[in-house]
Symmetry: C2
DNA sequence: TTCATTTCTTAACATAGGTGAATGGATTCA
DNA sequence: TGAATCCATTCACCTATGTTAAGAAATGAA
């Protein structure tokens, strides 16, 4: 089996994903994936560690991770879950060499295609289709963060949970409950209580 | 007085601000400001209205504004205050023609240089120094939003207020207290209570 | 299969912040 | 200047979530 053929299989999902919004020539796409290194993370393994420099950005090809901040009291707050086709890592740390403000940890066995800063910036410079595609991705993740900030402030934990059940039942299925609680900004006990209210009063 | 001279005065602060991080030639800078329209907002006047399309992004040349989301119950949450040298407006709405997720309102008489989408994208295309400068600005505001999301979740209202007093005493001075409360995510009465605790127990 | 570990649930009590109402001081405006 | 409005404060009471602790259920490892 040729290397090219292997690449096609390995990156077929990524290709399909980028082609959904932007067209890449074969050459552009091959150039793009040449900067990516596939790595497999075991369950609970870290992709990014809070307070350390985030050296890689990564594209999720299978499995899932969660990005979470740990505060001084040791409490964790989950900022997002990263599934298939998400980019993850702390961009701020990645670009400016500052310490990461959160960790990113695999919740299952997870395959990631990662890139370091040198390759990343080279690719942004040399592959306009990638630059354009990534700019839109960045805009969307900014948008999502702003929306999460708004939701966090304006909804009760119960409202947030009901919304999650409605909009992303797959997440509720797939992710252990105490992580869901930390995503909603509450303790596992409180989520249990909320679930009891919901399923009892019906 | 020539138009050029007027421009120099009008945009001298903006020039100083952009030159602090990136170099613009005179030509680039003049091209850039040619897409900006100065407008003066009276106190309480809106620059962006929630649920309407945000047609302009604006650079704050004097005065200040607040960006806030109003939820179904009518409660307001202030996402940020925009002072001198900030860009404001809902980028998501601006770019994708979706309804704004928040309003931006002048807290004092405020001068803004605004641009519509056509001119904005033209400028991004034609002025690389602007493109580069704005990309960094965008990254920083993404970073700030992420940080606010983390702070919102992990700090008590009292901690947030003490931090604000320490890091931005000017904001606490300049902005009416009920807006500060809404920035901290609490009601004015609760901020009063917190202030009482702080200044009493000392 | 069994033992250890992790996750989920429940309950009693504690606390931060919300609610509604009253008051007085400050601004604004005719 | 006076009336109207807005703003900050206080208080008594309410509610959502946190805390601590215990046990049950599920999962994983040997």
């Amino acid at each position: 089996m040729s290397g090219i053929k292997n690449n096609k299989d390995k990156f077929s999902n990524l290709r399909k994903h980028v082609e959904a919004t932007d067209h890449f020539t074969d050459e552009e796409f091959n150039h793009f994936v040449s900067i990516l290194t596939p790595v497999t993370l075991q369950k609970k393994e870290f992709f990014t560690v809070q307070n350390e420099h985030c050296r890689y950005l990564g594209f999720v090809n299978s499995g899932c991770l969660r990005a979470f901040h740990t505060d001084d009291k040791g409490d964790e707050f989950t900022m997002y879950f990263a599934f298939l086709n998400w980019w993850t890592g702390d961009k701020t740390s990645f670009y400016s060499n500052s310490p990461s403000r959160f960790s990113v940890q695999a919740l299952e066995e997870t395959e990631i295609f990662r890139a370091d800063k040198t390759n990343w910036e080279k690719a942004l410079d040399e592959i306009p289709a990638f630059e354009k595609w990534y700019r839109v991705k960045t805009r969307k993740s900014y948008e999502a963060t702003q929306q999460k900030l708004i939701d966090t402030q304006t909804e009760s934990a119960e409202e947030k949970y009901l919304k999650l059940l409605k909009n992303s039942p797959d997440i509720v299925q797939r992710i252990p409950q105490h992580y869901i609680a930390s995503y909603l900004g509450i303790k596992p006990q409180s989520l249990s209580r909320i679930r009891k209210n919901i399923f009892h009063s019906k």
